[in-house]
Amino acid sequence: MKAIIRTKLESPREAAPLAVFRILFGFMMLFSIIRFWYHGWIESLYLEPDFHFSYYGFEWVKPLGPYTYLIFLLCALSSVGIALGYKYRWSSILFFLSFTYIELVDKTTYLNHYYFISVLSLLMIFLPLQAYYSVDAWKKPGKAFQLLPSWPVLSLRLLLGIVYFYAGLAKLNSDWMLKAMPLKIWLPSKFDIPMIGGLLGQEWVQYAFSWTGALFDLAVPFLLLSKRTRVPAFIVLVIFHVLTRVLFPIGMFPYIMIVSALIFFPASVHHRFLEILSRLTGIIKQRFDNGRRLVSNYGYAHTFKMTFFALFFGVQILFPWRYLLYPGELFWTEEGYRFSWRVMLMEKSGYAQFKVVDEDSGKWVYVDNSEFLTAFQEKQMSFQPDFILEFAHFLEDHYRQLGWGDVGVYVDSRVALNGRLSRPFIDPRADLTQYEDTFKPKTWILPFHDTIKGL
């Protein structure tokens, strides 16, 4: 058994698909960063807010004032490094660190696709993507290989497969499948999309989108693996992602997924792509077609690498299930919600009115959230318990500094989830300063009083 797996992992494959993946990934990241800067988001998301919502354990990650631009520049340069395969190992490490740093600054901006890129770029550090059609390979023919073991390609496919499959599993709940929620809310608001806009208000369309979406996510990794279904599956994938791009504000995610899915195609496709690229740029492709084959040498480095892979994928497969350890409805409490490929899964919004009380003097004040938070931060804060708690602690510190005594922070909050009428969310009698953010269940979240069946 072990031998079979080893043969499968080590059997030689053309390196071309990995080179194409590297090039497209690098340029797409470059484009993402330029787009981010172009929309003024560096300014509005990282520089303007006085307060940032930190991830548990990463409170030390802060924006660096004007130097924040430098991190973005570093990130952009390293993505070019990845695309060109120039000092690839360093480029990929730098990219992973700078990109992840940016994402860790403020969880307000959490997007599954940012997490995907962090995870993917971490994996890429350990993959020899520079072996073929890269500056590194050009300059050091001794380190250039046309053939690589199978595990780099297979690990990328596995990661991609996990993303799709888990996104599909997450849709298997009664709101999505039986009530067509939240698409029933989102689709009608996209009436202004050319041609299909008028259809989106129809109930059957909303159900069709929900069911096809779930089915697509679950099936597409397998359909891409099989030679007979690959082309149709890819076409459906393109249609699916273009539609999501048109319908929802999810930025670059669809394009990244489309490009990544090319890794499922046989090397002939990628060779053709590189031939065209060579003709356009004047790069001599033949120089890389050296017939050389990289064979894994079973040293410590290899063992280390394989241990990393085992851990990496172990975490990827198990981490999304951590929500099972919490009581209560996942969509309501969001304990174990993030980092689990739950994409476009719920329409949730809230309202949080904080009351700060000086328990010594009885003096109290209601907080104007917009005094401390941007509109976007306030929106995200008002329905996520860990944000609410963090903001409460911020308010405690703030009023302490103003000379208040024993500060208590209470919140009157309401949250609406997937078309349900809004309900009280956090226990209004709970003094939030008495609670620390931990991985333990949050007892101060009020019950959901409804059930969402399914995974």
Partner: protein
């Protein structure tokens, strides 16, 4: 294997690319769409109803009232008697009530000129105002002077200069007569000119741009209007007219921050007028008429967001009715706040006013999928 499906795939891909190409990346300028079949709610009809049947008629009516006030002021100027002062006060109140119907539309030309703050920043800064009266040198167009002009400044000038009417009129008859008239002239001219600018802005192009921008994004008319509308309800109506004077946010009451502070009896009336205007806008009621058009309420009905057995538009209307009923049962705001400690009845009424906020901010926004800001989000 591949060739046959291609026949169907290519046309569908072309269709797809067209859709893709036609949808814009950023929430930029308004687009002209081919009209789809009217199976879902037409935001453009709602925008038309807002612009043509509510916003413009409200502005025009307000402008009429403001001009009437000016005419009566001119009479007062030629004959500054107690009787004329009373007439001026009535005209001022009438215009102030008309203002409550337009205060929420801080969009387009109104936003450009900072209309709401220029017309109605209260409390007015009586000390600075008195300094200006004495010195005769001031520039009301400066943003720093927002709190010495508009309705609140007039409130002070016709109701608050002294404790008795005869003393007030005396100031318009004595040696400083000219300085006083010049100041009121400046205040009223400022109000008239801003109002003209706003109306001209609407008539001279903004109306069409507003109606044409009928998409769904953070910069589309509907999304912006809804955000502004909720902001107005929360910050200006709930907090400004009731919450802040009640001391809800600070724990200490501040009756001097009431709207129309010097005309003790009308704070409640102005609040109710503003709330009626909010409710009428929500229901799409044509201004000054009994007809109704497409509105947020009918939008909610069309979205069919039936919740807990009751429709959201009805829940919102019921809550607004309840809030107004409670406020109506109160005495005038200033007396309620000054004579009660704590002003319990008014605080209870405030709670009902407050209960509308989450209904707008959470339930309605969620049901309509209104964008708050243009930023990538995968809907958590």
């Amino acid at each position: 294997m591949i060739r046959r499906p291609m026949k169907r795939i290519i046309p569908s891909l072309i269709l797809l690319v067209t859709i893709w190409a036609c949808s814009s990346d950023s929430a930029g300028e308004p687009q002209v769409d081919p009209q789809p079949e009217p199976v879902s709610f037409e935001r453009s009809e709602m925008l038309e109803n807002w612009a043509d049947n509510i916003i413009l008629p409200s502005y025009q009516d307000f402008s009429t009232r403001l001009n009437t006030m000016n005419t009566i002021y001119i009479d007062f100027k030629s004959n500054p008697s107690e009787e004329q002062l009373q007439k001026l006060r009535d005209a001022w109140l009438d215009a102030y009530l008309g203002w409550q119907a337009v205060a929420m539309f801080e969009i387009g030309p109104a936003e450009t000129v900072g209309y709401r703050l220029a017309m109605n920043t209260y409390p007015t800064d009586a000390n600075t105002l008195e300094e200006y009266l004495a010195s005769g040198s001031y520039d009301l167009s400066l943003p720093a002077n927002r709190d010495v002009k508009g309705f609140p400044a007039l409130d002070y000038l016709i109701n608050g200069l002294a404790t008795s009417d005869s003393q007030i009129v005396a100031r318009y008859q004595g040696a400083d007569q000219q300085a006083h008239f010049e100041y009121i002239d400046a205040v009223i001219q400022d109000m008239l000119s801003l109002t003209t600018q706003v109306i001209q802005g609407w008539e001279g192009g903004f109306r069409d741009a507003f109606v044409a921008n009928d998409g769904a994004s953070a910069t589309a008319s509907t999304d912006r209007m809804v955000n502004d509308f909720i902001f107005y309800y929360e910050k200006h109506l709930r907090a400004g007219k009731m919450g802040i004077p009640l001391g809800v946010f600070t724990g200490s009451k501040a009756p001097q921050t009431l709207e129309a502070y010097y005309r003790t009896t009308v704070g409640k009336e102005l609040f109710l007028a503003a709330t009626v205007a909010v409710q009428d806008f929500f229901n799409g009621k044509h201004y000054g008429k009994s007809a109704f058009g497409k509105s947020l309420a009918s939008y909610l009905q069309d979205l069919n967001t039936l919740k807990d057995g009751a429709a959201l538009d009805e829940i919102i209307n019921e809550q607004l009715d309840l809030a107004m009923e409670q406020v109506n049962a109160l005495g005038d705001f200033r007396t309620e706040i000054e004579n009660n400690d704590p002003p319990r009845a008014m605080l209870l009424a405030y709670d009902e006013v407050q209960r509308v906020v989450p209904l707008f901010k959470v339930d309605m926004v969620s049901a309509m999928s209104i964008s708050v800001d243009f930023v990538d989000a995968d809907g958590d």
